[in-house]
């Protein structure tokens, strides 16, 4: 794939990438947009270079996951060092859903989001990658940066916990 093809390929992946960024930011929409913007800049500027060892989708999702972690670390640093906001910028990710998300009512997706919010971050990520993004567990392991066995454990335990939580959640 030549660099000139990258924008078109990213555009194809955009909806899935936004969903993955939302999951990485606990459905904080503004934080997800920040993470996605920073990830696209890395990819388009060549700071994150695709070398063909995995699928482009897996690679892009990995970049988004790393960027979300960086943004979370910067937000934590900003909380402790007020001067750092000058250097790091005004954006902040606090892990809470934005007001629009919080207003989402009692529909089925809101139930799912609440249940996902009660899982561990790794379980939520693996389930999201498998069910939402249609990746295999091996691809999900590559994106999350864990071994296949670990990803499989997170998948099985997370799925069981999610089913239990959805049964407990009021309709």
């Amino acid at each position: 794939m030549s660099p000139s093809d990258l924008p078109a390929e990213l555009e194809q992946l955009h909806a899935a990438a936004f969903g993955w960024a939302l999951s990485c930011c606990a459905w904080d929409r503004s934080a997800a947009e920040d993470v996605l913007q920073a990830s696209y800049l890395k990819l388009l500027d060549g700071r994150a270079r695709f070398d063909g060892r995995s699928s482009l989708r897996t690679f892009v999702f990995g970049v988004i996951a790393r960027t979300a972690r960086e943004v979370r670390r910067r937000a934590a640093l900003r909380r402790w060092l007020p001067l750092a906001s000058l250097l790091l910028g005004p954006e902040a990710v606090d892990g809470r859903p934005d007001p629009a998300t919080a207003l989402v009512g009692a529909d089925e997706t809101a139930r799912l989001m609440r249940a996902l919010g009660r899982l561990s971050a790794r379980q939520r990520q693996v389930l999201h990658l498998v069910f939402y993004e249609d990746l295999t567990i091996a691809e999900a392991a590559a994106v999350a940066g864990v071994s296949l066995g670990t990803a499989r454990t997170h998948y099985e335990r997370g799925k069981a916990a999610l089913k239990r939580l959805l049964e407990e959640e009021p309709e």
């Binding site: 924008p7 990213l10 555009e11 955009h14 909806a15 899935a16 936004f18 969903g19 939302l22 929409r29 947009e33 996605l36 913007q37 920073a38 696209y40 800049l41 388009l44 001067l83 000058l86 250097l87 910028g89 089925e108 997706t109 799912l112 989001m113 999201h128 498998v130 069910f131 939402y132 295999t136 567990i137 799925k159 999610l162 089913k163 959805l166």
Partner: protein, 115 residues
């Protein structure tokens, strides 16, 4: 990969995906916002650099002033100071002046009657 009894999870995630997709910005808008945000970064870095320089200058000035004040406090010329204890007179022996002065020898100084 996804078992038959997981189909309801699959459907729930598909509904969530449709909802997220409807709420997402277009790719072009996202890239344009990213480029606009990057354009603001050099100005922010310049501001941060200026703030760091100001803080460093203030720190140097404060440190040098403090050092001068500290040196002023320590300058004591001990050679110009002679301290006497209140009990120094006890160390003075009777006739100590005679011991510190040189006796005059000669015809006027000698008393032949004593000799």
């Amino acid at each position: 990969m996804i078992e038959r009894d997981d189909q309801h999870l699959k459907r729930a995630f598909a509904a969530l995906r449709r909802k997220d997709a409807a709420a997402s910005q277009s790719f072009q808008a996202t890239v344009a916002a990213a480029r606009a945000r990057r354009a603001g970064v050099p100005r922010r870095r310049a501001l941060a650099l200026a703030a760091v320089v100001v803080v460093a200058v203030i720190a140097v000035v404060v440190a040098s002033t403090w050092r001068v004040q500290k040196n002023d406090r320590l300058v004591i010329d001990l050679a110009t100071v002679r301290w006497q204890a209140p009990t120094d007179f006890l160390l003075k022996l009777p006739g100590v002046e005679l011991l510190r002065s040189v006796p005059q020898l000669g015809p006027r100084g000698l008393d032949r009657r004593i000799l």
